[in-house]
């Protein structure tokens, strides 16, 4: 007869449920009783029991009241969200999210849903809707960027697909695209733009300068990406132009927001010819690094010039065996060594 007794307090009921016994919760009619039941369940830490009580409350309480009470019971709220997600009750979940904005993670829960939308247009619309949610200022700007980026990618993709099929554009003929640009990260998109649309004016959505401006891409990142793209295309003149600036006297000078050793690395990876590589090895500021790279990549002139500047006879003489006999480099070394003796 004990199983049918109606005298159990919320605490006893929760304890019985924790032991796996089936309990009817119907007798808890008043709001007060229901809330005590919920608080007891939460205090017991047993996720199963908390969920069971929430299922009961969801069925027997008006939504507004339930949501209001959950606003101040975060643990229970988390359990309900989890439950609704698992059960696929999207609408109820979204209503819950809209009403309970105190927790940052709820907006992000909403944002996360975009991953389940495969169709790009629908995803774009969804992201647009996310922008209005109360994120932090930082997160808002990132989500704004995400939306803008996808919007641009859709336009670029449509355009480029057209160009490719029309077969008129040389670059697309020579280097057919291996994948779509949709949903790619920003830097990947920039690389793509530097590869296929490098010379376009700032006004077009696909131009690298437009991307740089719109997303405030720092110089360092921009130069690195453009370099990688142009080097891949073996467009050494473009690489040159990246690093050349005219000062107020009209003289050209080479400088880079990244170390020149990085430039050398990237050029070398793209099998740049020694003459091109040499230019940049020469610009590496740190002497030891410069010597290492020059020796490694056989930029003889740079090695020779550096040892000359260091007035290092010994190394210079030793380096003679690294160059071809009778070559211009050997002559250069000999000439420098002779000059050293005279002075």
């Amino acid at each position: 007869w004990q199983d049918y007794s109606s005298d159990w307090s919320p605490k006893d009921t929760v304890r019985r449920m924790q032991r796996g016994k089936v309990c009817s919760l119907e007798r808890f009619r008043s709001l007060q009783d229901k809330l005590v039941l919920l608080d007891e369940a939460v205090a017991g830490h047993d996720g199963n029991v908390i969920t069971a009580v929430l299922i009961f409350l969801k069925r027997t309480l008006r939504r507004e009241i339930l949501f209001r009470e959950l606003e101040v019971r975060q643990v229970a709220l988390c359990h309900l969200i989890h439950f609704l997600k698992e059960m696929g009750e999207q609408k109820l979940l979204l209503d819950l999210l809209r009403l309970c904005f105190f927790s940052l993670s709820l907006q992000l829960s909403q944002y996360r849903e975009h991953l389940n939308i495969q169709d790009v247009e629908k995803r774009r619309e969804f992201l647009k809707g996310c922008i209005g949610l109360p994120f932090s200022a930082e997160d808002t700007s990132h989500i704004q960027d995400h939306y803008t980026l996808l919007e641009r990618q859709i336009i670029i993709e449509a355009n480029d697909r057209h160009l490719e099929t029309a077969g008129q554009s040389e670059i697309f003929r020579k280097y057919p695209r291996k994948a779509s640009i949709l949903n790619m990260p920003l830097v990947t998109t920039l690389f793509y733009s530097c590869f296929y649309h490098y010379t376009e004016a700032e006004g077009t959505f696909s131009s690298p300068t437009n991307l740089k401006k719109t997303f405030k891409i720092p110089d360092k990142q921009y130069v690195l990406t453009a370099l990688a793209a142009r080097a891949k295309l073996r467009a050494w003149d473009d690489v040159d132009a990246l690093f050349t600036t005219k000062n107020w006297l009209g003289y050209t000078k080479k400088k880079a927001p990244i170390g020149f050793h990085r430039v050398v690395e990237i050029l070398q990876r793209n099998s740049a010819p020694v003459q091109v590589l040499q230019e940049y090895v020469r610009l590496v500021e740190d002497v030891e690094t410069r010597l290492n790279l020059a020796t490694k990549y056989k930029c003889h002139d740079v090695v020779i010039e550096t040892y000359r500047d260091l007035k290092d006879r010994v190394q210079l003489t030793a380096y003679k065996c690294k160059v071809e006999r009778g070559s211009a480099e050997e002559e250069k070394i000999n000439s420098i060594l002779n000059n050293m003796v005279r002075n």
């Binding site: 304890r15 796996g20 830490h45 047993d46 996720g47 199963n48 029991v49 969920t51 069971a52 299922i55 975060q74 643990v75 988390c78 359990h79 989890h82 439950f83 698992e86 059960m87 940052l104 993670s105 992000l108 944002y111 996360r112 975009h114 991953l115 389940n116 495969q118 930082e138 997160d139 990132h142 989500i143 960027d145 995400h146 980026l149 949903n183 790619m184 990260p185 920003l186 830097v187 997303f215 891409i217 360092k220 990142q221 690195l224 990085r262």
Partner: protein, 601 residues
């Protein structure tokens, strides 16, 4: 069979036996021939409790992996599903059951074994699909703490950290408490409980309440454990982020150890046959089991990797010499003795060959420029250098699009060593990461912030230098070959969690009250009443036994450090380690990343 479990101070075979007994009972309940349909995730942990031979003894004739579609043909009376209580698995089971041909004869009976607990949510789901009634036996198998080695237990629950710290879901802690109750039933009530952290407090509370509510658990077993130390993972967020430098730690970092097994690239393990010339190279990864039953492994697993080489070469000489003995055996007696030793020597030689190969594989990685650069930055952060500015190496790695997890480990390490990053620095990293890897990673970054791993500095002051100095976390002169301090496991950094355990034993936590306050969560002490007559009288010179339970995960390096303390002369304490999961920095961060691929259903 379970030699590795009885090697320690506490014989964990009893725990394994209890698990086997419970499994046998359930199998016998479903009388007749059976087929088991496995949730793949469970096969590893179960393998540590029972092998197929035991299942066969109880009429298990076939085993299948759980997947959608029709169940395979099998002439058995019972089909039992061994599953975790997860909804996506319930969907698959539903599919299996609905497609079962009801017209076939004989009909097969269905049963479910939920591991480790039944779930109302799952049963509700099955009910809504209309299949709940198809199951005759619906039970739970409380596989909470699984013995991995003579001094190591794990729940292998990979979602605990995320659930506890991000989702306020403490169900895992409930299992942890249950696991501890099982341990106490077998090894006696633990008289003293210490803890640090919110989760530790919850588990202790649950243990005390469970003891009160289930009075039958009062037993007359002489207590084996003197002390239980419960530690929240978030008390020490630093240690799992750093690259482990012990032999076992590196194997886990590079290849991943799953349920004591590791899969290695096969090329180095091809048997060298004369004249074969290397054709027919194996393509399947080489699978090895790693536990203390293997003598050589037990000797080198916890050493700093730089000290392993000399042990291996010494071993090679000894084994060579032993095999040479056959040339010196003259009498029949001597030959007989040599032959009887042969299996042991061959096993030793094969073991040496395996570990020499593994050490070579690891050395290739640890001598690489990238490994060195990464380690240098880690050590700079841990010793407190330049933690408040954007780090060049990290920026370069992002620019070169190194794997995201590597980047996250480094920025989180910097954040923890700085008590949070300056807003400008944090924003800079976040922007670079999102622009390079994709905006959807906002979700992961948010999780990391919630977990306290990558967050803005709120109070404006950095507590880490004080913690580091008081607890002596950074030791400049480390002896990797013959260590005298636990900092050898990270070649300079002493794991914070293990330092806390060390100081608890001697001289006690009163000496570090101030520092403890800087670490998250309450610290506490509880005593449990022992029945009269069971008060432990320790023999002179006998060590205390402390069970350290890491709530949220533990690394192999921390285990090595605790083992180091155990074998210290005059240390006074021997440690047994329990955890919710064995982790490394990569698997840990991965568990906090939002799953970005949409689910297949």
């Amino acid at each position: 069979m379970a030699a590795h479990l009885s090697s320690g101070r506490v014989n964990l075979t009893a725990l394994r036996e209890a698990g086997r007994r419970e499994l046998r009972e359930f199998l016998d309940k479903c009388a007749g021939s059976k087929a088991i349909v496995w949730d793949e995730y469970l096969t590893g942990p179960f393998g540590l409790i029972a092998q197929y031979s035991l299942l066969k003894e109880h009429e298990v004739e076939k085993m299948f992996t759980l997947k959608p579609g029709r169940l395979p043909q099998a002439d058995v009376k019972n089909v039992i599903f061994f599953v975790r209580p997860r909804l996506e698995l319930m969907d698959i089971i539903t599919d299996n059951v609905l497609r079962e041909d009801r017209g076939r004869s004989p009909q097969r009976d269905f049963h479910i074994l939920f591991v480790p607990r039944r779930s109302l949510l799952c049963e509700q789901w099955l009910k809504e699909q209309g299949v709940l009634g198809s199951f005759i036996h619906r039970e739970q198998y409380s596989l909470d703490l699984i013995p991995f080695d003579g001094d190591l237990l794990s729940m292998e629950s990979e979602s605990t950290f995320k659930e506890c710290y991000l989702e306020s879901d403490q169900t895992s802690l409930y299992h942890a408490a249950k696991g501890l109750m099982t341990l106490q039933a077998l090894y006696g009530t633990i008289p003293q409980i210490f803890g640090k952290g919110e989760c530790a407090r919850h588990v202790a509370n649950m243990m005390i309440r469970m003891k009160r509510e289930f009075p039958g658990s009062q037993n007359s077993i002489f207590p084996v454990f003197d002390t239980l130390l419960l530690l929240d993972r978030n008390v020490d967020l630093l240690t799992p982020l750093a690259t482990q430098l012990t032999y076992e730690g590196l194997i886990d970092e590079i290849y991943g150890i799953q349920n004591t097994y590791v899969k290695l690239p096969p090329e180095k393990f091809a048997p060298k046959k004369q004249g074969e010339g290397g054709k027919d190279l194996p393509t399947e990864p080489k699978k090895l089991q790693l536990n203390s039953a293997e003598e050589l492994y037990a000797e080198i697993r916890d050493k700093n990797f730089n000290a392993v080489g000399s042990v291996l070469s010494k071993k090679a000489k000894i084994i060579s010499a032993a095999f040479e003995e056959r040339h010196h055996a003259k009498t029949v007696g001597e030959i007989k003795q040599f032959v009887s030793q042969l299996p042991h020597m061959q096993a030793a030689r094969s073991s040496l060959a395996n570990h020499t190969s593994i050490a070579e594989l690891i050395k290739d990685i640890t001598t690489s420029e990238d490994f060195f650069d990464n380690l240098t930055v880690e050590q700079e952060f841990m010793s407190g250098i330049d933690t408040d500015k954007v780090n060049n190496y990290i920026e370069d790695c992002i620019a070169q699009k190194h794997p995201l997890i590597k980047i996250l480990r480094l920025v989180c390490l910097q954040s923890v060593c700085n008590s949070g990053l300056k807003q400008k620095v944090l924003d800079h990293y976040k922007r670079e990461i999102l622009q390079t890897y994709g905006y959807e990673h906002i979700l992961t970054l948010n999780n990391l912030e919630k977990a306290g791993l990558l967050k803005p500095q709120t109070s404006g002051r950095n507590n880490y230098p004080t913690i580091r100095k008081t607890l002596r976390l950074w030791m400049d002169d480390v002896n990797e070959q013959n260590p005298n301090d636990i900092s050898y496991v990270y070649s300079g950094y002493a794991p914070l969690s293990v330092r806390l355990a060390q100081l608890l034993a001697r001289p006690g936590w009163r000496s570090i009250e101030e520092v403890l306050k800087m670490l998250p969560g309450p610290h506490f002490e509880e005593r449990q009443q022992l029945p009269a007559g069971l008060q432990k009288k320790r023999q002179h010179g006998e060590n205390r036994v402390t069970l350290v339970f890491f709530l949220g995960g533990v690394t192999y390096a921390e285990i090595a450090a605790l083992r180091f303390l155990s074998q210290m002369e005059d240390g006074g304490t021997e440690y047994v380690i329990a955890t919710t999961k064995l982790i490394n920095g990569t698997s840990w961060i991965k568990s906090l990343m939002e799953k970005l691929e949409p689910a297949p259903f």
